[in-house]
Symmetry: C2
Subunit: 331 residues, 2 copies
């Protein structure tokens, strides 16, 4: 087995975020799931877009955001995801490639259009996401570049993409390819509602040892384990995965590895503008440390630094000079 | 003549800004006109987009930005401009309507796509704009709603749109309609290079009294009058227009009306992030004061407050609560 060429290859939603600030009352008036991610169809997408204020478009997608952070830190990354042959597809492809990430999945002609996520950001920085999956849900297993997967240290998968059938099949095949090549599989649970729908799958994958690194937040940990008590959930899940990383919003994050517990507080942030991408960028910092062979404690700090950067502005992709922030934090 | 239903109706480029921070060296390496606006074709648009970092998309267009400011302040506004039947056209239409502005120009089917402006923002906040006019240049004179023009206190036109033939014809027809109805015509010179190409047209329109309110910055004033000396240029131009408003970047702005000179310093800004839209939002504040019957001095202050807001963040549309900023400034 030759040395892997890539640090992290990810499969995820290829999605453009459409984000606008919104008054608190609008979340209830529109019947939105505050702080959550809801899948929407074309009709609902039109209705919500009509109700939204003037917006900005910034490329997103959970795993793609994580790669954007990893690449900004200096990791070699590749992305697999499905856009349509349209303007938003061009925007997504441009942004990910401009970030230095390999992206070779061919655009899909015809309908549906490229995925978009309508994000309502309230004054507390909380984001409420409404995802129109569009082309993203049609990522076919044949689109996988298995050679590229075998050639990456880590295969990173987002739980959000477990909903649609074709990408789920593609991800299962990708896991098999990575495992055969002796690579690690990292998985992010993404959302409590995704766990409601697919918890049985996720638990089975954990039990059978398919997941080497598991990312979750405290709400997802509770949804997966059925324990509202954080420590109890952690104690139950930790023995089943080699490396478990759980973020806790303003309480920082915890990692469990080899029976040992590591923790980090949240980095101070002047003003929380938009929490979109906080978990994604935490994963970016953590994985960067991991592929560079840093200690778990340092990986947590790297995650916290990257998460703090992304919540201090609109959009789920890093804007500041991440290596400089990291250097300052470790100096 | 009945009382006008609308405060300001504008004709302008219907354009989506694609903006990214950029290193100073890239401006020269790409052969861009630093701080200016250059028209680009499809091929150049692709080349520049490929060279651009990860970007964000925010609706723009000079006159449309001005209306966004006016509407945010509480003015009744309408916009005329040409988008294509595509995703960026939907984005533009959504954003302008979500800002409370009437926009009824039908989208144009087929090629070319909706206009976009590739904006490179250097670390000093300076923006270098590269405009692919796309559908915007095909605004046909027949698309004008002359009843709506007669029904607005002010017809506002952007010089940028003087380049393409069809919109130029449309704007000439709009001026005639506004004048017949006894309305005022406001015009922004937009850019020194536009004046190089169309200065003769602009000077003729000024001489024949077609323009009641003229907006320019100090560079455009010099280009139009041929005088690098600010006071000399001002003295020559002022007698030819009832109301002349000239912005001077960090030196504030000057207005000339009825032989009298008014001036305002620039409002303090914590950090200049992106100067895109500074002139557009100055015009918004000024015109808002004007349609509300405020004194010229107050109109200048309103312009300065709005310009300061827009340069403190990315994008040329206002984000903060403009009425609150104005109320605070006048309290």
């Amino acid at each position: 087995m030759s040395a892997p060429r890539t640090d992290v290859i990810a499969i995820g939603n290829a999605i453009v975020d459409v984000m606008a600030p919104c008054e608190d009352g609008l979340i209830d008036a529109l019947g939105l799931v505050r702080g959550g991610m809801t899948l929407i169809d074309t009709e609902r997408a039109h209705a919500l877009y009509d109700a939204m204020g003037p917006a900005r478009e910034i490329s997103g997608g959970s795993a793609a955001n994580t790669l954007a952070g990893l690449a900004a830190l200096g990791a070699r990354c590749a992305f697999i995801g499905q856009v349509a042959e349209d303007q938003l597809g061009e925007v997504f492809a441009h942004d990910i490639r401009a970030g230095g990430i390999e992206f070779a999945t061919p655009a899909r002609p015809g309908d549906p259009p490229t995925a978009r996520c309508l994000i309502f950001v309230t004054s507390d920085g909380q984001r409420t996401m409404n995802t129109f999956l569009g082309a993203s849900q049609f990522l076919p297993p044949e689109a996988l570049d298995e050679a590229a997967i075998r050639d990456a240290k880590i295969l990173y998968l987002e739980g959000y993409l477990w909903d649609p059938e074709e990408p789920r099949a593609a991800m299962r095949r990708a896991i098999a390819a990575a495992k055969e090549a002796g690579r690690k599989v990292a998985f992010t649970l993404s959302d409590a509602f995704v766990i409601e729908r697919h918890g049985a799958d996720f638990r089975a994958m954990i039990e059978t040892g398919e997941i080497d690194i598991l990312f979750a937040n405290h709400v997802e940990l509770a949804a997966l384990t059925g324990h509202d008590d954080f420590d109890r959930g952690l104690a139950e899940l930790a023995p089943k995965v080699p490396l478990l990383v759980v973020t806790r919003s303003e309480k920082g994050a915890v990692a469990m590895a080899g029976g040992e517990r590591f923790a980090v507080p949240a980095e101070p942030v002047e003003q929380v503008v938009d929490t979109t991408g906080a978990g994604d960028l935490f994963a970016a910092g953590f994985l960067f440390g991991h592929v560079r062979g840093r200690a778990v404690q340092d990986c947590l700090t790297l995650g916290a630094v990257c998460a703090a950067e992304v919540i201090s502005h609109y959009g789920a992709r890093p804007e500041a000079d991440l290596p400089a922030l990291v250097a300052a934090r470790f100096s």
